[in-house]
């Protein structure tokens, strides 16, 4: 499986042409890596497992943020009520 990662184009200071050709090389490398991922059953399964993990982490983070915002909402409401009372 070819390595989809390549050298940072920003580190190449030899001009605009080099950057453009580097971009094409990146795209070609990426296309190659995607074909191999799709063709390989094990690779595909590994990818799906990784995807589920990332999705789970995302959901947990979102639930945490939402819970925090709900708690904050309630606390602010109490402070507002206290301010109107005084």
């Amino acid at each position: 499986m070819p390595d989809s990662r390549c050298e940072s184009p920003g580190s190449n200071t030899s001009g605009i042409r080099d950057r453009v050709s580097a971009r094409h090389e990146v795209k070609l490398a990426l296309n190659d890596s995607q074909i191999t991922d799709n063709d390989s059953r094990n690779g595909g399964r590994r990818m799906k497992e990784g995807l589920s993990f990332v999705m789970g982490v995302n959901l947990i983070i979102w639930c945490g943020i939402a819970l925090y915002l709900f708690i904050l909402d309630r606390r602010i409401k109490k402070l507002e009520e206290r301010n109107t009372d005084t």
Binding site: S4, R5, C6, E7, S8, P9, G10, S11, I16, R19, V20, R23, V26, K27, L30, N31, S33, Q34, D37, M47, G50, L51, S52, V54, M55, N58, L59, W62, C63, A66, L69, F70, L72, D73, I76, L79, E80, N83
Partner: protein, 217 residues
């Protein structure tokens, strides 16, 4: 309250759909293109927040309403937060596709300049002790700062050669998968709802603080 519960459910649905419903775009390694559903809405919210901050600042300078200043400050803070999030998610994508978290691409450079410009906004707010003068200075600066936003976000990355994906990720491009477009628009909607929720919370906090310590805010 109902819209907050609906937003919580909607965002969870979008997260699941972005991984299970929408497919990965061609031309990107593995599943990295799915960052589109999180990175682009964050950048959109940052731009929207800076725009709101600029409008609210103009309203404050015109009518001297403290509430407008609260809105300007809250929007600028949230814009800064979402700008940082967009920078982080962009760096993760850069590592996976370009091989490095940071390589001074025009898009990356322009976002750093934007962060520095809005970082200075908070410096101005904390440097002036008189509340009225602080609001005026911050208001004028917010308007001037927003002038650079269209230039840094839309113009610079397009007039220079950048590795940042444009056509493949652009919803207007004919190559975008309909499923991807649906999830992307749903994500934009969810992030906008989240921003409105956070913005209202921040304004309420500033209002309470303003009532308690009128000389500080």
């Amino acid at each position: 309250m109902i819209y907050k519960i609906l937003l919580t459910i909607w965002m969870a649905v979008i997260i699941i759909a972005s991984f299970l419903y929408a497919g990965a775009a061609a031309g990107f390694p593995g599943e990295t293109s799915r960052i589109l559903f999180f990175h682009v809405p964050q950048a959109w919210i940052a731009t929207l927040a800076f725009l709101i901050s600029m409008i609210a600042s103009a309203v404050y300078l015109g009518k001297r309403r403290v509430k407008a200043d609260y809105l300007a400050q809250s929007a600028a803070e949230l814009g800064f937060l979402f700008c940082i999030l967009a920078t982080i998610t962009g760096s993760v994508f850069a590592k996976a596709t370009w091989g490095a978290f940071w390589n001074w691409d025009p898009r990356q450079t322009s976002i750093v300049i934007l962060l520095m410009i809005y970082g200075a906004y908070f410096s101005i707010r904390s440097a002036v002790s008189d509340p009225d003068r602080r609001r005026v200075f911050a208001g004028v600066y917010s308007i001037l700062a927003f002038v650079t936003v269209p230039f840094l976000v839309f113009v610079v990355p397009r007039i220079t050669i950048s590795l940042h994906p444009e056509n493949t990720m652009n919803p207007a491009s004919p190559g975008m998968d309909p499923k991807t477009l649906k999830v992307f628009l749903g994500s934009l909607f969810a992030y906008t709802g989240l921003f409105v929720w956070m913005l209202r919370l921040k304004i309420r906090v500033l209002t309470i603080e303003g009532l308690r310590k009128p000389n500080i805010l």
